[in-house]
Amino acid sequence: MYDVVVVGAGPAGSMAAKTAAEQGLNVLLVEKRQEIGTPVRCAEGISRESIEKFFEVDKKWIAAEVVGARIYAPDKTEIVMSEDMAGNEVGYVLERKIFDRHVARLAAKAGAEVYVKTTMIDFERKDGKVKLKLRKLGEEWEVETKILIGADGVESKIGRKAGIIKTLKLNEVESCAQYLMTGLDIDENYTHFYLGREIAPGGYAWIFPKGNGSANVGIGVLPKMAEKTAREYLDAFIEKEGIEGKIVEFVAGAVPVYGEIETAVADNIMLAGDAAYHADPITGGGIANALSAGYYAGKVAAEAVKRNDFSANFLRKYDDLWKNDFGRKLRRNKKLQLKFIEMDDALLNKLAGAIAGKNLREMSVAAIVKELLKAHPKLLWDLKDLF
């Protein structure tokens, strides 16, 4: 019997497996795809701080470093956020194909078993443990575990079957499409964000540089507000912006913009990353929270094994940890997102105009909102205590 089975070898799952294995637990990491880290379903951006908290940065999985972000209102008014000094990189654009495999390898190195092309078909909680049915290359078998960690993505089977999460509604999720383009003429020192209801209703379009004229060019739209598919919005955006380059890869995906869930645990079960809707509701960024959540889940799993207590009540320690870390931010940014999706293009232009040219030195959503609150306190009155 395993101490921990982790389903999903993305950043949350591999981090959980790595952490649990480092604590001496008997761990199995299962990934349904035959290749870890692909397709990415991700724009690959992360702050330097978030990644350096857990890893020694290796150039092999860093595609590009950026010094700031440029945000464009519909009328092209620009908000520039960057650190004071040139050369002070604040963010990375990862090469997730390599990064995800790196983290999975660290889990393996720490002692976790790893099975790829292996699907969890079903699970059942019984007699204080979990029985899992797995399938690999058509062959089915059962394993038992004390703890099941669901890092099985936004489509989490574990979270839904355990009754931890509710199915996302069409105003709680972004429908996303992205091209990896090459031969681009862009400012590679910045990540670029394009706002506007016409371009991306309920979301935004992005260009995240990946070095040597390549970039992730993508879009997320709120299906509730969208009138066509994300792919069609992406093509329209590229045409409107006159972005010229060759498409060398194409991915699609869903990003939860739900906000904070009440609990990510049930008896014997913890959810981490997109499975727990841990992605940021305003930026859609999910890697940082996924890594933290995976780390906490691994730690709490070790404590649970030591105490031989796998009850939801005990596992709530995990809730405390992730909520203390980023729960408040999920709550806050969800409120901001609800406000943002109500803004029409005229209002976005007005707001951007009010703070364009201001020197935003801190790279954060909070920094923008604080400036906006100074410029237009009434418009964002109900958010004033949050920022």
Partner: protein
């Protein structure tokens, strides 16, 4: 019988977006392909709205 979702596997990017929003658990992303379980599909059309690729459609079945 009413409406059911169908997938065009030539358009599908097997991203799982439709799985995340299906209230009936009728869609499943199996390794690298999408499976729709007709007997569970209620014909609500939510997955069609969600699909980033336009790979899903509703059809009348009898």
């Amino acid at each position: 019988m009413g409406r059911k979702a169908i997938v065009d596997r030539r358009k599908c990017a097997y991203c799982g977006a439709c799985v995340a929003v299906c209230p009936a658990d009728a869609n499943e992303l199996i390794e690298t392909f999408l499976e729709i379980y007709d007997e569970r599909c209620t014909g609500c059309g939510i997955c069609v709205k969600m699909c980033p690729m336009g790979a899903l459609a509703m059809v009348e079945v009898d």
